[in-house]
């Protein structure tokens, strides 16, 4: 399969993930969308690495996966704290930054 196919696939998944981030009301749901976006990025990286025979792509992906896991952990911890404080994880109610 040509490089372009992988890249297009990744772009699609990214767009779907973005859609999820923009529309989901539950905070955990938003995090799921973010996961999808990160996945798409990984596909991109590996595809480029493979088609240029460059190890950097693969290494980058490896590190990205590790960091993503850490990010999910911290993010969910924050969500749990918000739930404890405000008794809701509905994104519509989390508007303390309102100007």
């Amino acid at each position: 399969m040509p490089l372009g196919a992988y890249l297009t696939l990744a772009a699609l998944v990214f767009a779907i993930g973005l859609f999820g981030v923009l529309t989901r009301r539950n905070a955990v749901g938003i995090l799921l969308g973010i996961e999808l976006m990160l996945n798409a990025v990984n596909i991109n990286l590996v595809a480029f690495g493979r088609f240029h025979a460059d190890l950097t792509g693969v290494m980058f992906t490896l590190f990205t996966i590790a960091i993503t896991v850490a990010e999910v952990a911290v993010g969910l911890a924050i969500v749990i704290v918000i739930f404890r404080v405000r008794r809701t994880v509905d994104a519509d109610h989390l508007d303390l930054l309102r100007g």
């Binding site: 981030v21 923009l22 938003i30 994104a91 989390l94 508007d95 930054l97 309102r98 100007g99």
Partner: protein, 616 residues
């Protein structure tokens, strides 16, 4: 007479002492709030200046005719030498003026201490501060070696006049009079500044001595000179109350009487005459303008004298008298006899100050300015004698100085073949004697208005100063008699003629107001329309008032409207829009995280578009 030059350092001392006094009083508030301290500082400063002026006069050395009497320092730099300089010009003219200004200032300040005794203590400090500033300004004016410096001090003097006329600023009439004086003289000043700027653009210099040299060598650009000198003369018209800009001087009597004595008799109003005398070598180059000056001067003399005849306020009479005498001085200058005019300036300064201060005494006694409410002072010669001496001097009676100077002026005008001005000046002389003795008869010798009111004690300072000035007047006259006054020219019958004018006026006044032999009311009816017009000041005040309200205030209102609605309006609109925009933009910050993600996504899309554009 050989020209002389005085010490520049001493001149600076004369100038600096009142300035230092003003600074001290302006800056050190406790000093100003304590009236005795303020008066002491100011009087001491002006006394020091007087002594320095005397020393300058005594120590003056002869100079060559080619040598400049100015000492200047560079002020505004320009290419090819400084554009403007500051300094002092200490020649005979300015040394005489220094003496006059410091002497009269000193006497008036001492007199003021007694006259204004009932003033609140804190106001008096302000009064003396203004006096110090005025002394500094007037001295700077007479010492100025350039038109520009003279103009700066000219304006300062005008400011001091405003401040002192409006000293009792809570009186509406005083405030109005101060503003009126300021505006009318400002009209003249417009001409003055236009004239000196045109002169500078034509010649490249403001300096008197340089201009005089250029004039004598014929290198002055002659074509525009009449216009330039006319514009400069306009400044003198305003400041020295020539027709038609004389209307401010009678109203300026709202100020305290010592102020009137100083500024509106002896010093500030003479600035215009001084200007003409100082710049006379330039005026000589425009003989037509000089003729105009003489005509305007003579007309002013007659006009003011006529208005003085129908006034009942003693200060107003003296004010009109000053206007009239200023007309005399200008007429002399216009007749190419500036020395005669200047001599009259000095003599008039002394005896007019005497008259004003004497008027202050009777005002103090009767608590009114109205001569018809005065009288019954025949038995107190120490009050009326100085005033009568002053009156005789003003009327031009031998052997007092007024006789000699007036005769010199009449001679000069006669020699210049100015027929109608000569006639006008003669009639004015007659009227001068008449209205002054009218005042004397009514205020001093008439039966008292209310019996028993004339026992008020007069402070010694006031009468003492009056006697001093009277003695000075007598001395000046006697000096002329003994020293033999220089040739005045004119026909041999002139001295007798002027004496006859004076005598006739005095006689008529005595007959009308002392003996009641001629009824004043019948005379008034006989001269009907003139009298009516005179008492209404010939409508000139109304004219200026109408112009002021109609033109100036309307213009001010228009500009105010423009300022509020256009200038401020633009700014207010901009700020209102900014606030509204900010308010609207604020709604972007919803606090919802997903909205921010929208923002990021839209920004990214924008970057895509820009990148695509860049790829082309």
């Amino acid at each position: 007479m050989t020209p002389r030059v005085g010490s520049a350092t001493l001149a600076l001392v004369v100038l600096g002492l009142p300035f230092a006094s003003f600074l001290l009083l302006a800056v050190v508030r406790p000093l100003r709030r304590s009236a005795p301290a303020a008066a002491a500082v100011s009087i001491a400063a002006v006394l020091g200046s007087l002594l320095a002026a005397l020393l300058t006069m005594r120590g003056a050395a002869a100079r060559a005719a080619q040598q400049s009497p100015s000492t200047t320092w560079s002020w505004i730099p320009g290419d090819g030498g400084p554009m403007a300089t500051v300094g002092v010009m200490v020649d005979d003219l300015s040394m005489t003026m220094l003496l006059l200004v410091t002497l009269v200032s000193f006497l008036v300040q001492v007199y003021s201490w007694a006259y204004l005794h009932d003033e609140p203590r804190t106001s008096l400090g302000r009064y003396y501060a203004y006096h110090s500033l005025f002394a500094f300004s007037m001295l700077g004016l007479v010492l100025a070696p350039t038109f520009l410096q003279m103009f700066v001090f000219w304006e300062l003097v005008g400011l001091c006049s405003y401040l002192l006329i409006g000293y009792w600023y809570d009186r509406p009439s005083a405030a109005r009079a101060a503003v009126k004086a300021f505006w009318i003289t400002k009209l003249g000043d417009l001409g003055f500044v236009a004239g000196i700027v045109m002169l500078w653009s034509a010649t490249g210099t403001f300096d008197f001595w340089t201009l005089f040299q250029m004039g004598s060598q014929g290198t002055l650009p002659i074509e525009t000179l009449p216009l330039i000198m006319f514009l400069i003369y306009l400044g003198a018209v305003g400041k020295s109350a020539q027709f038609p800009l004389h209307v401010w001087l009678p109203d300026a009597m709202e100020g305290p009487t010592p102020v009137s004595a100083l500024i509106h008799a002896a010093t500030m109003v003479t600035a215009g005459v001084f200007l003409v005398t100082r710049a006379f070598p330039l005026f000589l180059l425009t003989p037509d303008l000089l003729t105009l000056v003489a005509w305007v001067g003579a007309f002013t003399a007659l006009l003011a004298a006529s208005m003085a005849c129908v006034e009942s306020d003693i200060k107003r009479v003296l004010a009109y008298s000053t206007v009239s005498q200023l007309g005399y001085m200008m007429a002399a200058a216009g007749a190419a006899a500036p020395e005669a005019g200047f001599l009259h300036l000095v003599a008039h300064g002394v005896f007019k100050a005497l008259l004003f201060l004497g008027a202050g005494v009777v005002i103090h006694v009767f608590h009114t300015n109205d001569v018809f409410r005065m009288g019954g002072l025949r038995g107190r010669p120490w009050i009326w004698l100085p005033f009568v001496i002053g009156t005789l001097a003003l009327s031009g009676v031998w052997p007092l100085p007024g006789f000699f100077t007036k005769e010199a002026i009449l001679a000069g005008v006669f020699d210049a073949r100015l027929g109608l001005p000569f006639a006008m000046l003669s009639v004015a002389a007659f009227l001068t004697a008449f209205y002054m003795f009218r005042v004397v008869c009514l205020a001093f010798f008439a039966p008292p208005h209310h019996a028993g009111q004339a026992h008020h004690h007069v402070p010694g300072a006031m009468t003492g100063v009056g006697w001093l000035l009277a003695a000075l007047t007598l001395a000046m006259g006697l000096r002329q008699v003994v020293g033999g006054h220089h040739e005045t020219g004119g026909p041999g019958w002139l001295p007798w003629f002027s004496l006859a004018l004076a005598g006739g006026g005095i006689l008529l006044a005595w007959a009308m107001y002392q003996r009641r032999a001629i009824d004043p009311a019948r005379v008034a009816r006989a001269l009907g329309p003139i009298g009516w017009m005179a008492s209404r000041r010939y409508g000139l005040d109304a004219l200026f008032g109408g112009l002021y309200r109609g033109v100036l205030l309307a213009l001010a209102r228009l500009i105010g409207w423009l300022d509020r609605y256009l200038v401020d309006g633009v700014l207010n609109v901009l700020s209102a829009w900014t606030l509204r925009a900010g308010d609207r933009l604020r709604r972007l910050q919803t606090g919802q995280p997903q909205d921010y993600v929208y923002g990021v996504a839209l920004g990214t899309l924008l970057l895509f578009v820009l990148a695509q554009w860049g790829l082309r």
